[in-house]
Subunit: 315 residues, 5 copies
C-alpha cells in the first residue's frame, strides 16, 4: 500500500512512485508510436485510406464503459473485502485475547499450581493467536514458514504444521483444543467457552474469506474479453481521430490510452490484493499491528516495532 | 474455472482456451457475413436504400447499456454468491470439526469404553461433514450419488438417503441427532451443543442458498428482452455504418458484435455457476478441498489428492 | 416464475410465452401507429413543421438512463430479496425441524408415557412449521385460509387464527409456547430452547421482510415521473427521427419503444414479487418445497407432489 | 406514503396527487418563462447573440448524470434503510412478545400469587414494547409525548421520561430491568433472559439506525453542488437549443427541466424519510401495525383500528 | 458536518459556508484564466492553431465518468460506513449500560457491602464505556489524551494507557476484566456475562472498522490517475470549445471545471471522514451524544451540554 501525503496541484504530474505509469509505459509507448505513424501517413495504409470516423468508438465505448466500470468495482470490492477480512481478524484477535484473560478462573480450591498452569495456557493461546495472523500472511503470499512463526509456537507443533496444506486452520484447532481443555478442568464456564469459540469461528471466517479471494479470480474469459476490447480500441483510435484533429492525434491517443490502460492496470493489481505489488494490502504491517495490539493486551513490554514504509510503500 | 497465468500483450489475442469465442463464433460469423453483404450492396435491399444513420444506435445503446450493465452485475453477483456460499460451507465444516474434537468430554467415571464410543461418534460425524460437501455438489450438478459418498457414510444410511429428494438435508439432520445423542449421554455441555448446532445451521444456509441460486434464474422475460435487443442491434448495425465508414463496416461490426455477444455469453455461463462450463465454479475442487482440510484436522495421513486442472480448467 | 430451457438463436424471436410483449402490445401499437402517421406527414402537423432534432432525446436520455437503471435495480432487488427471504424461511424451517427432533430428551425416569407426549408435541410443532409457510403465502397473496392449512393445524386453532390480522405471527407464537412447555417439563435444556427460539426469530424475520416488501412499494411519485418520461420520450421520438431516417422511422421507433416499455413492464411485474403474474416468485412451489423437505425429515412416506409448471409457468 | 392503485395509460398524465409537480411548479414556471423569452429573442441578449451550442450540455450532462444517479441511489437507500429498520423493529417486537409469554415460568412452589405477579409483569413489558414504537415515532418526528403513550405506560414513568433527551432508550432500559427482575425471582432461565436481551438489542439497533438517518444528512456541500449544477443546466438550456429547434425550445426545456427538477425534489423528500411529506414513510401506520400485532399476540380483543390513508396518503 | 436549513432557490447560489468553492477557487481561477487566454488567441499558440474538437472530450469523458462515479461512491461509502460504525458504537454502549445495570444481582446473603461494591463496579464500567467513545475520537483525530478522559477513568489507569499504541482497546479489555470479576464473585450468570461480552465485541468491531477506514485510503495510484485525468480534461477543454462557442468558452469551462473540481474536492473530504474539515463526521458531537445518553441511563442529573455547531458546522 502506498502511503504518502496527498500531492498538490502540479505535484500530481511529477510523481512517479505511486503512479501506475511504470506498469504500462511499454504498451503506452507502442500505442503512441503507432499513432504517430498513422498521423504521418494521414490514416492511410499503402495508399489505402482507412476511413474510420469516431462513430465506431462511440459504439465500442458503450461496451467498454460497462466492462471497465464493472471490472473496476469488482476489483475494488475484492481489495476492500480483503482489507475488511483482515480488519475482522484483528478485531477477533483482540476479542479472543480479552476473553482469554478475563473469563477463565481457577476456583479457590485450585491453589497456586493451577493458577500457574492457567497462566501458562493463556500465554500459549495468546501466542498462537498472534501466530495465526502471520501464518495467514505466509499462506496468502505463498511464503515459507520461517523463524517468524517458530518464535511464537512450541517447536514440535510448528514443525508438524509446516507439512500441512492448511497450517493456519491447524493453529485455530489447537486453540480450540486448549479451550476444551480449560473447560474440562473447570476453569471456564461453558457459555464463555462458547463465546471464545465464536471468536475462533470469526478468525476461521477471515481465513476462509481470504482463501476465497486468493483462489477465485474474476472469471478468466471476462479478463480476456476486456483486455482485447481495450487494446483494439486504443490501437484503432488514431485512424478515427486523424481526420478531425490532425497532428494532435498522438497527444489525444496518448491521454486516452493512458487512462484506459492505467485503469486496467490498477484493476489488475488490486484484483489480487494479497501480493507484493505497490497497491496491494500491507499484510506485513497488518499482521505486525495485530501482534503489537495483542502484546500490549498481554501486558508485555517488549513490543516489536511496526515495519516502516520503504519508498512510501508499506508491505 | 479457468486457471492460467495472466497472459501478456499479444498473448491475449492468440489464446482460444478461456476465450468466449468458441461459444459465439456461429452467431458472430452470421453477423459478419451479413455485414459484408450489406457493405457490398451499399446498404440497399433490391434497389431500396436502407437509410439508417447511427442515431438509432445511440438511442438503442441507452437501453442496451442498462440491460447489459444490469445483467452483467446480476450474473456476477450470482456467481460470487455461489462461491461465497461454498466458502461459508468450508468455514462451517472446519468450525464443526474443531468443535467436534475439542468440546465433547467423557467424565473420569466414563472409562475407556465410553471414550472409544465417543471417538467413534466423532469420526462418524466428521465423515458425514465431508459427505455433505460432496452430496451438495452432486445435488447441484444433478449427478447420481455414487461410490464417492458411499465410502464416507454407513451403507444402510447412504442407501436410504439416495431415495430422498433432499439427501444433503438428511445428512445434516443425522449429524444433529448425533449431537443430541452425545449431549444425552453427558458428553457435551448444552451451550457447546448449541454452538455446534450453529455450525450445522450455517451449513444449512449454504445448502439453501445454493438451491436458491440453482432454482431461481434471472427472470426469463428479462433474458428474452435482452437477447432480442442485442440481436436486433447487431444485425441492423451494418445499415447504420456503411454510409460513413464504407468498406470497414464488417470489421467494426465484427468487433462490436464480438464484445456484445461475448459479454452476453459470459453472463449466460456465470449466471448458473454450478454447471460444468469452463467459467463455472470448480465444485469438485472445492469439495475435495473441504475433504482435505477435514482429514488434516482429523489427523489422518491418507489425504486424497486435489483433482488437477485439465486443459487449464478446474471443475 | 417462467421455467423453460434457454432458447437458441431464432427461437428468441418466436416465443410469446415468457416474452413481455403481451403486456405492452397496446401501447406499443399506439406508438407505432403514431410514428407511421408522423412519417406520412413528414413530421408536420397541419402544415406546421415540428422541427425536433435528436438533440432533445440525447438530453432526455440522460434522465431516462438514470430513471430506468435505478428503477430496474430497485425492482430486481425487491424480487431477489423476496426470494432470499423465502430461502431463509426454508433454511429456518429445516433447522427448526432438525432441532425439534434432535435435542429434546425425556429423562430415563420419564417413562414411555412422557416419550409419547414428547413425540406428539414434536409432530405438532413440525406441522405448525409447515403451516407457517402456507399461511405466509396466503397472507402475501391475500388468499383465504382454506383446507390447505386446516389439514396441518388443530381445528380450533385454525378457526381462531383465521380471524386475526396476522395469523402467521400467531403460528410462530404457538410454536414458541410449545417450546416453553417442553422446557418447563424438563425435556429441553435452556440453551437449546434458546437455539430453537432463534430459528423462530429467523422465520419471524422472513415474515416481517415479506410484509415490508408487500406493503412498501417504490415511492409512488417516482413511478409517476418515470412513466411520464418514458411515454413523452416514445411519443415525441418520431418527430425527432423522421428527417434523418425517413420511412424507417416507425421501425426504429417500434424497436426503441419495445425495449423501453418492455423494461418498464418487467420492472412493474417483479417490483411486487408475491403476485401471480408470470415473472413473480413461485410461492406455491416454494411452500410445497418446504413441506416436502419437512416431511422427509419427519420420516413420513406420504410426501405431497410438487405442483408442476403450467404452460412453462410455476406459481 | 402514497397508496393508490397503479394508474393506466393516460391516467399517468392526469393525476396530481402523487405527482411531484406541486413541489416544483414554481421553479419550473420560471424556467419555461425564461425559455419563452430566449426563444422570442432568438437567443440574443440586447443584440448580443449568445452562441451556446449543445456541446456544453453534453459535457455538463456527464457530471449531472453522476450527481443525480448517485444522489438518487443514496436517497433511496436512506428511505429503504429507514423502512428496513422499522421492519426490524416490528420483527423484534413480535419476537420479544413471543419470548415474554412463552419462556418465563413460575415453579410449582410459586403459587397463584407469583403467577399473578408474573402475568402483571408480562403485561407491563408488552405495553412498554408497544410504547417504544410510538415513542420512536414521536422522537423522529419531533412531536411531543402525548396521551398516546400515557395510555401504555405507568403515569409516573411517562412523566419522568418526558424530560429525557432519549426517552425511547429509557423504555428499553426499563424492559431490561424487568427482565433482570424476573430472572432474579427465578422465573426465567439465564439463557432465555439472554435471548430476550437480544431482542432488546435489536430494538436498540433500530433506534440507533433511525437516529443516524435523521441526524446525518447527505453531506451538505454535495447538495449545494448538485443543486447549482441542475439550476445552471436548466437555465442555460434554452440558449443551447434555440438555434436548432426554434419555437419548440420552451416545450423541450419544460420536459427536461421537469424530469431533472422532479428527480431532485423526490430525492429531497425521501432523503429524510421520517417526515410528513407525501412520499415519506408512514410511521403512524407502522407503529399502529406493531401495536395491533402485539395486542393480537397478547390475546386482547380491543384492537385499535389502523389509521386509514387520507387522500391516498398514509402517514 | 454542516448543519443548516435547506436553502431555497437563489440562496443556493449565494451561500459560501457549506459550498466547496473555498477549497477549489485557486485551481478554478487558473483554469478560467487559461480559458480566457485561449479564447483571446482563438485557440492558437504562437500562430499554431490547436485544432482540438470536442471529440477527445467525449472519449475522455467515458473514462472520467467511470473514475468520478466510482470514486464518488467509494468515498461516500467510507463516510457512511464511518457514521454507521459510530452509530453501532452508540447502540452497543446503550446495550452495555442496560445490561450492566439490569443483570448483575447480589444474592440475598451478599448484604449491603457487596451491593455497594457492585454499584461501584457498575459505575466504574459505565464511565469506562463513555471514556471509550472519547478515546476512539482522540485516536482517530490523532489528538492527545487530555483531561476529557481523565475525568472518567481512575488516574493511574489513564496514565498507564496513555503510553499504549492502542489505548481504546485497553479500555475494552478493562471492562472485560471487570465483567469476569463480577462473574467470579457470583454476581452475574455466565450466559449474561456472555451477552455483555458481545456488546464489548460490538464496540471492538466499531474500533477496528474505524481504524480500517483511517489506515487504508482508496489505492493511491487510483487517486493519482483520477486527478491527472481531471486536470488534463479541464486544461485542454478551452481548445476544444473555442471554435464552436467563441467568447462563451471561459464561462462554460468555468461551469464544467467547477462541477468536476468540486466533485473531486468533496470526495477528498469525505474519503477520510474522521478529520476536521467541514464535511467530516461530527465525532465530538457523536461522542458527547453517547455520553449524554449513558448518563441519562445511569440516572445522573449533571448531564453535559451538547457542543453547539459553530458557523453552521458541527465537529
Amino acid at each position: 500500500m502506498i502511503i504518502r501525503p496527498r500531492p498538490k496541484g502540479i505535484e500530481y504530474f511529477l510523481l512517479l512512485r505511486g503512479s501506475i505509469l511504470p506498469n504500462i509505459w511499454r504498451k503506452l509507448a507502442v500505442t503512441i508510436v503507432m499513432a504517430v505513424l498513422v498521423t504521418l501517413m494521414h490514416g492511410a495504409l499503402y495508399h489505402v485510406k482507412i476511413r474510420l470516423t469516431t462513430i465506431p468508438f462511440t459504439l465500442m465505448g458503450l461496451a467498454l464503459a460497462i466492462f471497465l466500470g464493472f471490472r473496476n468495482s469488482a476489483s475494488y470490492e475484492r481489495y476492500w473485502e480483503g482489507r475488511r477480512l483482515w480488519g475482522s481478524l484483528g478485531t477477533a484477535s483482540r476479542n479472543l485475547l480479552r476473553q482469554l484473560y478475563a473469563y477463565p478462573q481457577v476456583s479457590d480450591s485450585g491453589g497456586p499450581q493451577q493458577r500457574a498452569q492457567l497462566a501458562q495456557l493463556q500465554k500459549h493461546m495468546a501466542y498462537a493467536t498472534i501466530a495465526f495472523a502471520h501464518a495467514l500472511r505466509h499462506q496468502l503470499r505463498e511464503e515459507s514458514w520461517g523463524e517468524e512463526i517458530a518464535r511464537l509456537l512450541p517447536a514440535e507443533r510448528a514443525l508438524c504444521w509446516q507439512r500441512l496444506q492448511h497450517p493456519a486452520a491447524a493453529i485455530l484447532q489447537a486453540i480450540g483444543s486448549d479451550v476444551g481443555c480449560a473447560m474440562a478442568r473447570g476453569w471456564l464456564a461453558a457459555p464463555l467457552a462458547q463465546e471464545i469459540d465464536r471468536s475462533l469461528s470469526q478468525m476461521s471466517e477471515a481465513l476462509g474469506g481470504c482463501e476465497r479471494i486468493k483462489n477465485t479470480p474474476i472469471p478468466f474469459s471476462y479478463s480476456v474479453l476486456l483486455h482485447r476490447t481495450v487494446y483494439v480500441y486504443c490501437y484503432l483510435l488514431p485512424f478515427g481521430l486523424v481526420d478531425s484533429i490532425g497532428l494532435l492525434t498522438p497527444v489525444v491517443v496518448g491521454v486516452v490510452a493512458y487512462t484506459f490502460f492505467g485503469l486496467d492496470a490498477i484493476g489488475d493489481e488490486i484484483e489480487e490484493p494479497f501480493g507484493l505489488t505497490p497497491n496491494d494490502l500491507p499484510l506485513t504491517a497488518l499482521s505486525y499491528g495485530i501482534e503489537i495490539s495483542a502484546r500490549e493486551m498481554m501486558g508485555e513490554t517488549a513490543i516489536p516495532a511496526m515495519p516502516p514504509p520503504v519508498d512510501y510503500c508499506l508491505q
